[in-house]
Amino acid sequence: MDFGFCLSPSSHVKMDSIDLTTFNRLKETNPDVNTCIACGSCTSTCTAGNFTEMSFRRLLLMLQRGKEDEAKKMIQRCMLCGKCTLVCPRGINIRKILLDITR
């Protein structure tokens, strides 16, 4: 019998047990991934981001918070136009990083 009650999973990011394999691998070849200051330039210029949830700033955070599956889903929206790389004030080679994630 269904009484309509259920247990909802915690929305907390459990930093002690997250898997950072992809991010740490990425960091070795692209130390720049650490230097994001979350200004949002990449996201606001993103052509794909105008129509989808694509946001490189958020994608980097997803990888750092163990949400690899969500990140890999998001990355499919990218069209590799490279406008994000052009506007990044920290000079992060975003286009290369995006390619490296999928590799």
Partner: protein, 336 residues
């Protein structure tokens, strides 16, 4: 005859003002309540943004004032205005007659136990930024025992209406990043996190320090204020915060939590301040005459202010103010 200038406080502002006044041909007298000159900065190990040893600066400042008349372990207990300026009575029953008074009384560090949710004084592994600096200076603290995960909390006692401090304490952001890098130097295997609301890197070289913190030291800066700290069964700290850039709350276990305490105006001067008729502004710091052109003047004739008694300031800010107050006092005496 050289005119006496009474300087209350023998920290960075007091020492530097005395040095300059002496050069300008006046007779500064420092009254310092503790047993040594040097103030807070003398407790510091290294200075931001370039990890310069604080000792170098402090020793030079102390050397500059070695011929200045300084009364240690002494407080001003009473002060009155008379025809010649000011008549001050000291705690050692000595009296000083001075033409002008400089308040260089500095700050008190915010008492971290007032933010009870951070558990300072309750949990063993919660320490203050000053205590961490002492660890760097002296190389030991029983609470710092090869930590694997370290957190820094910004704005403790600052930008916080509940504790009555709505202001930004200015130097804690840069100090936190400096200390985070130093922790990585001492414990290279440790993961270091800082929890900030905004990172206010306002000075020359500070933004470079931020980049270095991220890139060279792999310190992880998370935007969000730690909301609560508790202890698990192994005595490790469990913290909760929201990653506001990610939009999700997070939980993490840490071995050490460092609280970046704010500055508050030193309370020990309250009585004398009242006698001199110097009011506080809404932040609880002393009011100066004007924010732009009268930053060293008070609203009372012959009473001057310098350093962190009027607002939180960095060491270069303080030294700059101490030098400018010397010029103000010099002009005041000569135009009398």
């Amino acid at each position: 005859m050289k005119e006496n200038i009474l300087i209350i406080g023998g920290g960075a502002a007091g020492m530097e003002a005395a040095t300059q006044l002496k050069k300008l041909g006046l007779n500064p007298i420092i009254v310092e309540k503790s047993e040594r000159l040097g103030g807070h900065i003398a407790q510091w190990d290294r200075l931001f943004p370039a990890f310069h040893p604080a000792k170098d600066v402090v020793e030079q400042m102390l050397n500059n004032v070695k011929d200045v008349d300084a009364r240690l372990n002494t407080e001003v207990t009473d002060i009155q205005r008379d025809n010649n300026g000011f008549h001050a009575v000291l705690s050692n029953k000595e009296t000083i007659d001075a033409k002008a008074v400089i308040l260089a009384t500095g700050f008190d560090l915010f008492k971290a136990e007032r933010k009870q949710e951070y558990g300072y004084g309750i949990y063993n592994n919660v320490i203050t930024s000053l205590e961490l600096e002492k660890f760097f200076k002296e190389g030991k603290d029983p609470r710092i025992n090869n930590p694997k995960k370290i957190g820094f909390v910004h704005c403790v006692g600052a930008r916080d209406v509940k504790v009555g401090n709505t202001y930004c304490s200015k130097v804690c952001c840069t100090t936190a990043l400096k200390q985070a890098c130093e922790m990585k130097e001492v414990f290279p295997d440790a993961e270091v996190y800082t929890f900030y609301m905004d990172l206010r890197m306002f000075g020359p070289g500070y933004e470079d320090l931020y980049l270095k913190t991220q890139k060279d030291f792999d310190v992880k800066c998370i935007r969000g204020r730690v909301c609560e700290v508790s202890e698990d069964m192994d005595g490790r700290l469990v913290i909760k915060a929201e990653d506001t850039l990610f939009g999700k709350p997070l939980r993490m276990t840490l071995d050490l939590l460092v609280l970046m305490c704010s500055m508050e105006k030193a309370k020990s001067i309250d009585k004398i301040q009242q006698k001199l008729g110097i009011a506080n502004n809404s932040d609880g710091f002393m009011q100066n005459k004007d924010m732009y052109l009268g930053m060293n003047d008070s609203k009372q004739d012959g009473v001057f202010v310098a350093g962190t008694c009027t607002a939180p300031k960095s060491l270069p800010d303080t030294i700059g103010e101490a030098r400018s107050v010397a010029v103000e006092v010099f002009n005041y005496i000569n135009n009398k």
